[in-house]
C-alpha cells in the first residue's frame, strides 16, 4: 500500500487528528485517488479501532479521538470526491440528535462514534433539537435513519412528535426512525411507531444495521 495510504490508516489507529489532516493534504498533492485514500486508509483504520474497542482492548476516549482523526482526514478529502462525483461507500446515512428540551448528549455521542466505526455516515445535530430540524435535515441529507435520544421522561413525547412529523412529511417509509435514551421502553417504541429502539449504544448499532438489511 502506498506510503500515504498506510500513514492515513495509522493516523486513525493512533488517534492523531493533526497527522490525519497533514497526510490527507499530502494525498491530494500526490493526486492519489481520494476514494482509495478514504476507504483503504481512513475507513480501514476506524474499522480496526472499532474492533479493538469491541474487544475491550481500548477505551471509549481512544475510540472518540480516533473518530475525530477519521473525520479530520475525510473533511480534507471529501471536496475532491465531490468534484469527481464519487461517494464513499457507507452502510447508510444517519441523522442523530437529542430531542428538544433535553441537553443530555453522552449516550448519543457514543452511538454516533460507534455508527461511524461501523461504516455509517453520521450527522450529529447536537442537543435540544426541534422536531422541524430533524425532518429538514433528514430530507436535505437523504437520511436512511433518524435517531432521536431522550433521557428525561418529560422530553420523551418529542419522539412521538418526530414520528408524526416523518409521517406528515411523507417520508415515513423512506426514512427509518430509531429511538434511544434512558427514558424509553419497548412499549413506548411500539406506541409511537418507531422502527427500532435501543437502550445501549452497541445495541443501537446492531439495530441500525438491521434496519439497513445487514
Amino acid at each position: 500500500m502506498p506510503d500515504v495510504i498506510q500513514k492515513l490508516y495509522e493516523s486513525v489507529v493512533n488517534a492523531d487528528s493533526d497527522l490525519a489532516k497533514e497526510v490527507a493534504t499530502e494525498a491530494l498533492k500526490q493526486r492519489i485517488d481520494p476514494l482509495r485514500a478514504i476507504e483503504d486508509g481512513l475507513v480501514k483504520g476506524i474499522r480496526e479501532v472499532g474492533t479493538k474497542f469491541g474487544n475491550c482492548e481500548i477505551f471509549l476516549t481512544d475510540l472518540v479521538m480516533a473518530a475525530e482523526a477519521f473525520k479530520a482526514g475525510v473533511q480534507v478529502l471529501e471536496p475532491e470526491l465531490a468534484k469527481k462525483k464519487t461517494q464513499v461507500r457507507t452502510i447508510g446515512t444517519v441523522v442523530l440528535g437529542t430531542v428538544a428540551g433535553d441537553i443530555h448528549s453522552i449516550g448519543k455521542d457514543i452511538v454516533g462514534v460507534l455508527l461511524t466505526a461501523a461504516g455509517f455516515k453520521v450527522h450529529d445535530l447536537g442537543v435540544d433539537v426541534p422536531v422541524d430540524t430533524f425532518i429538514e435535515r433528514a430530507q436535505a441529507l437523504n437520511a436512511d435513519i433518524v435517531g432521536a435520544s431522550a433521557l428525561l421522561s418529560t422530553t420523551v413525547p418529542e419522539q412521538w412528535k418526530i414520528a408524526q412529523a416523518l409521517k406528515d412529511a411523507g417520508i415515513k417509509n423512506k426514512v427509518k426512525f430509531m429511538i434511544g435514551g434512558q427514558a424509553i421502553s419497548e412499549n413506548w417504541a411500539k406506541e409511537i411507531g418507531a422502527d427500532a429502539w435501543a437502550l445501549s449504544a452497541p445495541e443501537g448499532v446492531e439495530k441500525a444495521k438491521k434496519l439497513m438489511g445487514i
Binding site: C56, L60, G101, I103, S153, T154, A183, S185, N187, A201
Partner: protein, 483 residues
C-alpha cells in the same frame, strides 16, 4: 467524644478547588437562556451577555449571595416523626428518583412499573422507619410520559407519611407540585413554613441551565420551596478527566445555582448536592461503585464543612449492581464514607447505576442506615464507661465474667446496637436449621411481616380530590391532547 470524620485533601488543596470554582464562575460563566432571568441576575451584580446567554459572576457577588443560604432548616413530613432537621451531625436517608425498572419482590423479575406498582412501592417505603423521604422511585409507563411526574407526586402525597422528594422539570410542573402539596398542608404559606416537598434540581453540564429547567428552578426558588442544587459532572465526559477538575466544575455549577436561587429569593433553603464522579470509559456507563466516587464524596464533605456550611447530600446506597448480591453490599461503603464526610442527606437507594430500584435492597439499606448512624455516634469515655470499679470487682482469674453484673444489664442497650433484623450473626447450626436463608430471603420475610402489620393513614377525601384536580389540569397540557 470526637465525631469521626474523613479527609482526603489538604487545606491548601481545598482552597485551590474552592478558588478555581470561583474562577470558573467569573471567567467562564454559566449558560442561562432566559432574557428575563439574565436581567434579574444583572440587577444583582452578574455580568450578562444577552446574545450568548452567558452570565459571569464576580466572586464577591457569589460570596455575598451564597451567604444568604440558610445554614440549618427543616424538611417537613406529613407525619412529623419524619421531619428532617438539617444541621451538622444529623443524617437522613431517602429513596431517589429516576429508575425506569424495579425488581418485583414476589417474582424477582426486573420489570417496568405501572402506577399501581408505584403505589405498592410507596407502601413498602412507608414501613421502612429509617427512610425519611421518598422520591419518584420508578417511573410508571401506563401514563403519558410528560405527566408521569404529576401522577407520581399525587400518589406520593396521598399515600406516603414521609417527606416527598420531587424532580424539577419545568415551571408548570413545579406549580403542579406546589399546588398538590399546598392542598395537603392547607395553603402555600403553610407549605413554606412546613415544606413537605422539595425539588431536586439537576444542572446540566457544562455550566448549562436548559431553558425550561432554569425557569422551573427560579419558579421553585420564588416560592421558597427547598431546592437540592445538584451537579453530577462525569469526569472525562461532561467534566475534565481529572478528579480535582470535575470537583471544581461541579462546585462551580452548584455555587452558581445557589447564587441564582438566593438572587431570586434571599433565604431560599438549598441543599448542596455534589455528585462529582467519573464516566467509566471501559463500560461506557455512569458508575457509583468506583474508588473515584468514594474519593469525591470525601472531598465534597471537606469543601462544604470548611467553606459553605449548609446542609448537603451525598449518595445513599447507590450501586452499579443489578442484583441484591455481594457487589450491591460492598458498594454501600460510599454511603458510610459520605456520612463520615458529614453529609446530612443520603439520597438514592437505587441499583443498576440509578436506573433501577429494588425494594428488598431498600430493606437492607434501611438496616444499614441505622447501623451506620450508630458508627458515627461514637462511644463515650468516662468513669462509668471505663468501668474500672467493675473490672476490679469481677477480678482476675478463670471463671469470672461480666454477664451477670448489674453494670452490663443496666448499660447494654445504650452501649450496643442490637436493632438489626436482617444481618445474620447466629451460629452456623442455627442458621442452617432456620432454612439457610440468604440476605434476600431474610429481607423478604421481614418485609412481609412488616407489611402485614402496616396500617395506612390515608388523607381525607377532600384533600385527595384537590390533589386530583391539579392532576386533571396538568392532563390538559399533555402531548396526548395534541391531535
Amino acid at each position: 467524644m470526637a465525631k469521626p470524620t474523613i479527609n482526603i485533601l489538604t487545606d491548601e488543596e481545598l482552597e485551590s478547588v474552592h478558588l478555581t470554582s470561583f474562577k470558573i464562575l467569573e471567567d467562564v460563566g454559566a449558560y442561562l437562556p432566559s432574557k428575563e432571568i439574565l436581567r434579574m441576575l444583572a440587577d444583582n451584580g452578574a455580568q450578562v451577555n444577552y446574545t450568548t446567554n452567558i452570565a459571569r459572576f464576580p466572586r464577591g457577588v457569589v460570596k455575598e449571595y451564597i451567604s444568604k443560604a440558610p445554614s440549618e432548616f427543616t424538611l417537613a413530613a406529613r407525619d412529623e416523626d419524619y421531619n428532617m432537621n438539617l444541621r451538622p451531625g444529623n443524617f437522613y436517608f431517602g429513596i431517589g428518583s429516576g429508575a425506569v425498572r424495579f425488581r418485583d419482590v414476589e417474582t424477582g423479575e426486573a420489570r417496568t412499573a405501572t402506577v399501581s406498582d408505584f403505589e405498592n412501592l410507596i407502601k413498602i417505603s412507608d414501613v421502612l422507619s429509617n427512610f425519611s423521604f421518598v422520591g419518584e422511585a420508578v417511573t410508571p409507563i401506563d401514563v403519558p410520559p410528560d405527566l408521569a411526574a404529576q401522577y407520581m407526586w399525587a400518589s406520593l402525597l396521598k399515600h406516603s407519611r414521609k417527606h416527598i422528594h420531587m424532580y424539577l422539570n419545568d415551571p408548570l410542573s413545579v406549580r403542579d407540585g406546589i399546588n398538590m402539596a399546598s392542598a395537603v398542608v392547607g395553603s402555600e404559606e403553610e407549605l413554606v413554613r412546613k415544606p413537605i416537598i422539595d425539588f431536586l434540581a439537576c444542572i446540566g453540564q457544562p455550566l448549562t441551565f436548559e431553558k425550561r429547567f432554569l425557569e422551573g428552578f427560579v419558579e421553585a426558588a420564588k416560592h421558597g420551596i427547598p431546592l437540592w442544587v445538584h451537579s453530577g459532572a462525569m469526569a472525562g465526559a461532561t467534566g475534565p478527566v481529572t478528579l480535582a477538575g470535575t470537583l471544581a466544575l461541579c462546585n462551580a455549577e452548584i455555587l452558581g445555582g445557589i447564587t441564582i436561587a438566593q438572587m431570586t429569593r434571599p433565604g431560599t433553603p438549598v441543599i448542596y448536592t455534589n455528585w462529582a464522579r467519573i464516566f467509566d470509559m471501559k463500560s461506557q456507563n455512569v458508575t457509583f461503585g468506583s474508588p473515584e466516587f468514594a474519593m469525591l464524596r470525601i472531598a465534597t464533605g471537606q469543601l462544604v464543612r470548611k467553606y459553605y456550611r449548609i446542609p448537603f447530600s451525598n449518595a445513599g446506597f447507590q450501586t452499579d449492581s443489578k442484583l441484591l448480591d455481594a457487589q450491591n453490599g460492598y458498594d454501600a461503603h460510599t454511603t458510610l464514607i459520605g456520612m463520615l464526610a458529614g453529609s446530612n442527606l443520603l439520597l438514592g437507594s437505587t441499583i443498576d447505576g440509578a436506573n433501577m430500584t429494588d425494594p428488598l435492597s431498600w430493606v437492607i439499606n434501611n438496616e444499614l442506615a441505622a447501623h451506620y448512624r450508630q458508627i458515627i455516634k461514637g462511644f463515650r469515655v468516662d468513669e462509668m464507661t471505663l468501668a474500672f470499679d467493675i473490672v476490679k470487682s469481677v477480678g482476675a482469674g478463670p471463671g469470672h465474667n461480666f454477664l451477670a453484673t448489674k453494670h452490663t444489664h443496666d448499660h447494654l442497650r445504650e452501649q450496643h446496637w442490637l436493632d438489626y433484623a436482617i444481618s445474620e450473626r447466629r451460629p452456623f447450626s442455627l442458621w442452617e436449621k432456620d432454612g439457610s436463608k440468604d440476605t434476600r430471603q431474610r429481607a423478604k420475610v421481614w418485609l412481609q411481616s412488616k407489611l402485614k402489620a402496616y396500617k395506612p393513614e390515608p388523607l381525607s377525601v377532600d384533600v385527595q380530590r384537590n390533589i386530583d384536580q391539579v392532576l386533571e389540569q396538568a392532563k390538559s397540557r399533555s402531548y396526548t391532547t395534541i391531535s
